[in-house]
Each structure stands twice: as structure tokens, then as C-alpha cells.
């Protein structure tokens, strides 16, 4: 099972690679929206973890672009960002409905343990879906 992590910060992405290495998942890290689309094309992800604040194209642009491809419409996406969800105000609900987001996690308030727990939950749901 492939997980695509979109994280521009080099140090944090190294930490994720180390923290997730025992989950039995193949981790792919992209630092930009464009690189993420290319990676997703080559290694279809079962889950996407996204930081919204990226260089050049934002995470929001990535979301719309990603969902525009039929094969990626159902792939769960977790936003794991330095931007608190409150900053989106009512737009968040619109975005959630339009794009379909599994969860929005605020980085300073979500530690690795909590993130791993959520990854496990989402990927186990995915495996069940695949079985059926």
C-alpha cells in the first residue's frame, strides 16, 4: 500500500520517513504539488497526507487538480497542516464537501502517534474495501 506525503519541509519529511517505516507501507514524499501529481501517477497512493502551505502551487490547488482525475476521486486525503482549520472559516465545509477530505489535522496539536493511529485506521478501511 502506498502513502503519498506532501511536505515541503525537509527535516519534517525525514522524521516522517523514520516514524512510519515500521507501518508496512510504502512511503512516497513529494515537496511540491507538481511533484505529488507525478508521484501519484507512478505510484498510485492509497492515502494522501497533505500540507497546504507549499511553494508555488498551494495545497488547495493540488486538491482540486488531484480530484479532477477520475481514478483519484475516492482516495482518502488527510490534511496535516501548520494552518489551523479555523482560518478557512465557512470555506472549510465547502471544501470538505467539494473535495472530500478524511480529516484536517493541525500540526502543532497532532503528534506522530495520533497521526499514525489515523493512518492505520484509514489504511485498514482501505484494505477491507479492497477485500470486498
Amino acid at each position: 500500500m502506498n502513502i503519498l506525503i506532501i511536505e515541503p519541509d525537509k527535516v519534517l519529511s525525514n522524521i516522517y520517513i523514520n516514524a512510519f517505516k515500521n507501518l508496512g507501507l510504502d512511503i512516497y514524499i513529494a515537496k511540491s504539488a507538481q511533484a505529488a501529481l507525478t508521484l501519484a501517477d507512478g505510484y498510485p497512493p492509497s492515502l494522501v497526507i497533505l500540507e497546504i502551505q507549499l511553494v508555488e502551487h498551494s495545497g488547495i490547488e493540488f486538491l482540486y487538480e488531484f480530484r479532477s482525475y477520475s481514478e483519484w476521486k475516492e482516495i482518502p486525503i488527510i490534511i496535516y497542516s501548520c494552518i489551523p482549520v479555523q482560518e478557512f472559516n465557512n470555506n472549510w465545509q465547502i471544501l470538505k464537501q467539494e473535495i472530500g477530505i478524511e480529516d484536517y489535522l493541525y500540526k502543532p496539536k497532532t503528534n506522530l502517534k495520533q497521526l499514525i493511529k489515523l493512518i492505520k485506521e484509514v489504511t485498514s478501511k482501505q484494505s477491507e474495501t479492497i477485500k470486498y
Binding site: 515541503p8 502551505q53 508555488e56 501548520c82 502543532p108
Partner: protein, 244 residues
């Protein structure tokens, strides 16, 4: 709405927006510290790497705060910041030493290009050093977020027709006057004023800007060989060559 505290003569002293940027920027080193600490608990082998991340991120956060404070003190015209005869090359050398660990944990190769003999400049050494470190740190963190550019940053000096340029250079065209102009304009309204350059709010660039401004200098774009960069132009003081 951003407010600016002013002295009686209307000199801006404390930009709440810059303070807000710094508070936001400090999330990143603190996040790195917290996650590196947590990650070291998963795996004994990570301990050494994590302690390096924790040490460097802490140092970097403290430097950002110190440099911000220095900018404010300069703006308040603190008399202790007198101009002195300074060798630009030696300031760049010291700045490179300060940035080495940060570059290492970000996978950025740091180069120093101070070849050539330049006349000293009259500037406050501590403030120039702080501005270059602040700028360098911001770019070291910004470069790895770009695709298809060399993970190299060069601290360099050269002569131009306007004076001696001291700056920080990389392969990215985003280090341009336009990026700076747009950044300064968007600083009040955007989370990512340097959108094409940095994934963070680039507080370090604005701190460097405020320090240089307070000394009557300017942060500006410049080219060094085939690299793009930002830095400042310093006026050489040839008379001082005799006493250095």
C-alpha cells in the same frame, strides 16, 4: 489590521505584522523539536539525528528572536550600535559558520565565496552579521522545498558599480527584485508573502530587511556569476583601509 507603533518623528518601530510573522515562523522549529523528540522514542538509532535536529532548530529559533529584537533596537536608534570598520568577507565567514548546522539538517550545501580583496565598509558588524544570518537561514529552509534546483546556497561578496555587495545566492530565479517587492506588499495580508520562494512566511527575509533598513541600507536582488540572490550594497570606505 496590522498596526505600527511609531516614535514622535513617525519612524516605524514595531510592526505587528512582522511580530505575527515571527510567531508563525517559530512554529516550524518548535514542530521539528517536538516531532524529532517523539521520533527518537520510536527508534534508538534516531537519537543522535534527533538531538542534532533539536539543537539546531532551537539555535535557529533563538537567533530569529534575537535578530528581530536587534532590528527593533536599531530602529529605536540604540546608541550602542555604532558604525565601525568592517571586512565584509569576515562577516560572511562568521555567518557561514553560524548557518552550517542548519544547512546540514536541511540537506543544503553551504558555500562561501569571498575571494578577492575588498575595502572595508562602515557598518555595524553585529547588525550586518545578524541580517545575513537571518536571510541565509530563511533561504536554507526555503530551497529544499523547490523541485529541480541544486541544494546549494552561496554566501558571497563582489564589487559592483554601486559598492560592495554581500549576499546569499542560489540557483533559483525566484530570488528576484519582483519576489522581494511582492513579498513586502503581501506581508501585511498573506500567510505566504514570498509564495514562489518559500513555503513558510519567510520571516527571516523580513527581519533582515528591517535590520538593514534601520541602518539606512537596502535588501536588494543581485546576481553572482550564474546565481541569483538577495543581499545588500555597502559603500566601501577607502580611508579605513589604512587602519584595518
Amino acid at each position: 489590521m496590522a498596526r505600527v507603533l511609531r516614535l514622535e518623528n513617525e519612524t516605524p518601530i514595531i510592526s505587528q505584522q512582522l511580530l505575527l510573522n515571527i510567531a508563525e515562523e517559530l512554529k516550524m522549529p518548535l514542530l521539528r523539536i517536538a516531532r524529532a523528540n517523539e521520533s527518537s522514542l520510536f527508534d534508538d538509532q534516531m537519537n543522535l539525528q534527533s538531538s542534532e535536529i533539536i539543537r539546531t532548530s532551537t539555535d535557529n529559533a533563538l537567533k530569529l528572536i534575537d535578530n528581530y529584537i536587534l532590528g527593533i533596537r536599531l530602529a529605536l536608534e540604540d546608541a550602542s550600535f555604532i558604525k565601525e570598520s568592517v571586512s565584509v568577507s569576515s562577516v560572511l565567514y562568521d555567518a557561514a559558520l553560524d548557518l552550517t548546522s542548519l544547512a546540514k539538517i536541511n540537506g543544503v550545501e553551504l558555500e562561501l565565496n569571498i575571494a578577492g580583496k575588498f575595502a572595508p565598509v562602515a557598518v555595524n558588524r553585529e547588525a550586518l552579521h545578524a541580517a545575513l544570518v537571518s536571510l541565509g537561514a530563511a533561504l536554507i529552509e526555503a530551497i529544499p522545498a523547490h523541485e529541480n534546483i541544486q541544494m546549494k546556497l552561496q554566501l558571497a561578496t563582489h564589487r559592483s558599480r554601486y559598492g560592495i555587495v554581500a549576499g546569499v545566492y542560489a540557483q533559483t530565479k525566484q530570488l528576484s527584485e519582483q519576489t522581494l517587492k511582492m513579498g513586502r506588499r503581501l506581508q501585511k495580508t498573506s500567510r505566504q508573502p514570498l509564495l514562489n520562494l518559500s513555503h513558510s512566511n519567510g520571516a527571516g527575509v523580513f527581519v533582515a530587511d528591517s535590520i538593514l533598513n534601520s541602518m539606512g541600507l537596502k535588501l536588494t536582488s543581485s546576481r553572482h556569476h550564474n546565481l541569483y540572490g538577495i543581499g545588500t550594497i555597502l559603500e566601501p570606505v577607502n580611508q579605513m583601509q589604512l587602519i584595518t
